[in-house]
Subunit: 402 residues, 2 copies
């Protein structure tokens, strides 16, 4: 992986070239047991396949063989940041993405509305994916929670997801999640990974007790799970390490959050490829680097819906000509990680990558799929190497040494 | 990358096996926009292709995806040295390669004769590639420069290139170049990267002022650019880290310089493959390891001359039988980096590699090209891994652990 010190030294300013990075969340899949073809191999993707044949192809490995990333590390790696030494709590990403008042010293956390039965066992970790409007109502109820000497900022996100920022003396992150990632069990007790986090555990427990009482009469969202505690992230900014004026376009707040954390400007828009594409087109003249995030493929994979993921990929394919029409100097289409429908979860499998520029070796026989990108010019590389490759193809990196 | 501590521990002495490493400078290219075929794919290379089908093939990545090396780092990587932590100024490489009196405490720099207009703006950074004889005359003129308490050793190199060694109290490297790498602009002001280098900046500025006056009446070489300041490099020696008696054969002084820096003996010869091949044949009995450097392909690539690079590759191909006739235990043909004619500069793209020994898996369908070596037995590996592979194929590395 290129270090930020190195890119600071090698990047060339003001080249006027543009890089468009389209990230299809949870892109990679696995073969369907009946057909032997993955979601990508099943979908009809004429535009993505055509792009692949004129691009350099390869696979991105988010964290290395066997290691499955969460969304935060997967995106940090794509942006060229060491995902192991730059952990951002999911809550911090949500708070950033929602544009909450979030500062150094605060701790943010994700809240997931859920359904529990009369014994307090979790029946649905997502409360049937309640509508965002219902979420907003429930957040207003939770805004009545009072904890001495602690300020709480709440905001609804999408569907069952909300975020909280806790502000007060002596709060620190590195607290475990109450979400057990399972149903049929009660929420987990929170634990502090370090002594400085003990007060945060007490505050969060107080919050959960009050929330349970306030939500008891609601259905299906009669409880809340808390997870992803994170302090305010302090990361090198893309303008400094790459010399790029960057715009992050993502309907889902968490992805705006990770974009904001590395110094991209962000635009609030619908979580919809058409809306995102319009934002891209409207702002194309004003930035050097564009991160466009497409979420729904990952949700379909997580829900185990092979057919839906195939349909969503086919819908995305229709937008490829619009992306190409912008004539960015470098166009990259890839994913942050795999989310095979058969697994119903993120996975470690490398994800397809196509990179189109004037300076590549075209893989004339490639297809946009796990197997179809495998033998390409780029090979299988760590996600963290992508930014150096993008900068090089945009003529934005100097050579090293004489 | 294998560390020098590890090879010191694992190498096996006196095996009597021989390794021949042929480095074709700037070997890799990119497809021609009209034919879709690279320089290597366009050239008729019967001998290299035949070698590939009986060799293990792969690609070498000099510095990793997207990162373009200069000649120094590219060769250090080929010789198994960490290119990031062993920077050698180009001037130091030139001084070593020219066999100048160059010692610890001295600072060497490259001088490039150039053409400036009446306003001092650079018109040609290479003064029309003046003949080496003219260069020698101009160096005699510059030998009249006097700077109090500083000894200056000057030597002409090839075409427009010369080298200077500065000797005196308080001189240090880490000074920026005056060469702006552009035409239509004036030379850059020199800057010290650290306080210890400030006297070197003063001395070099004094040198440039006097040089400008002395060269004012010359044409086309009426000025000199200074670059690549470097102190005497102190690197582990190949005899110690690999147990190899090594010979570096390179017509161009800079490549003898990098060979000398890692402890190879070097022989001065013409920058001509025939001359280099004769030196190789004459000395084959007396060393274990041979580095033979072929320069002209890189120059053709840098000049953007696709056809010339193709012809030069075809000329090199004719020498492959003579290399094979020597029956080295390991024969490697590769490049230090790519220099695609279409880019007219070094690039980051991986370069073809063939390695022939008794212990390889032959890639029977390979071709000696960027795409033809891609699927081979070796895969895409960092250049820094090559030496361990060469030693292993020469039966010169012990196993690690019991």
């Amino acid at each position: 992986m290129i270090s930020s010190d190195l890119t600071r030294r090698l990047f060339v300013k003001d080249r006027g070239t543009k890089i468009l990075l389209v990230v299809i969340d949870g892109l990679g899949g696995l073969p369907h047991p009946e057909t032997g073809r993955s979601e990508l191999e099943t979908a009809a993707l004429p535009n993505l396949d055509a792009l692949a044949t004129t691009s350099s192809c390869g696979l991105l490995s988010p964290l290395g063989p066997g290691l499955t990333p969460g969304s935060g590390p997967a995106h940090l790696a794509l942006f060229g940041y060491d995902p192991w030494n730059n952990e951002i709590g999911r809550g911090a990403l949500s708070a950033l993405g929602l544009g909450l008042d979030f500062k150094v010293g605060d701790v943010a956390a994700r809240l997931n509305f859920c359904t529990v039965d009369e014994n307090g066992l979790i029946v649905d970790r997502r409360a049937g994916r309640i509508p965002t409007e219902k979420n907003a109502e429930l957040c207003k109820i939770l805004a009545q929670i009072r904890i001495p000497e602690v300020e709480i900022i709440l905001a609804s996100e999408m569907e069952y997801r909300a975020a909280a920022v806790f502000r007060g003396q002596g709060l620190a992150d590195q607290v475990t999640d109450s979400d057990p990632q399972l149903t049929g069990v009660p929420p987990r007790h929170l634990e502090a990974h370090r002594r400085e986090s003990e007060r945060m555990v007490d505050v969060a427990n107080d919050f959960l007790v009050q929330a349970k009482r306030m939500l008891a009469k609601e259905a299906p969202a009669n409880m809340v799970l808390i997870r992803g505690f994170g302090g305010y992230p302090v990361l090198p900014q893309m303008a400094d390490v790459y010399g790029l004026a960057a715009l992050g376009i993502a309907g889902y707040p968490m992805y705006r959050g990770v974009a904001a954390a590395v110094g991209m400007e962000t635009v609030v828009c619908d979580a919809d490829i058409e809306a995102e594409c319009r934002v891209l087109e409207a702002n194309f003249a004003d930035y050097d680097f564009f991160f466009l995030h497409i979420k729904k493929t990952d949700s379909a994979g997580e829900d185990g819906d092979f057919e839906l993921k195939v349909r969503l990929l086919e819908e995305i394919d229709k937008y490829i000509p619009r992306f190409r029409d912008l004539r960015s100097d470098v166009l990259i289409v890839t994913g942050d990680h795999s989310t095979p429908s058969r697994m119903g979860s993120h996975s470690w499998h490398p994800v397809p990558l196509v990179l189109s520029s004037d300076w590549g070796i075209a893989d004339e026989t490639a297809k946009f799929s796990e197997r179809g990108c495998r033998g390409g010019a780029i090979g299988t590389i760590p996600s963290t190497d992508l930014m150096a490759l993008a900068l090089a193809h945009a003529d934005r990196l100097d050579k090293f040494g004489a």
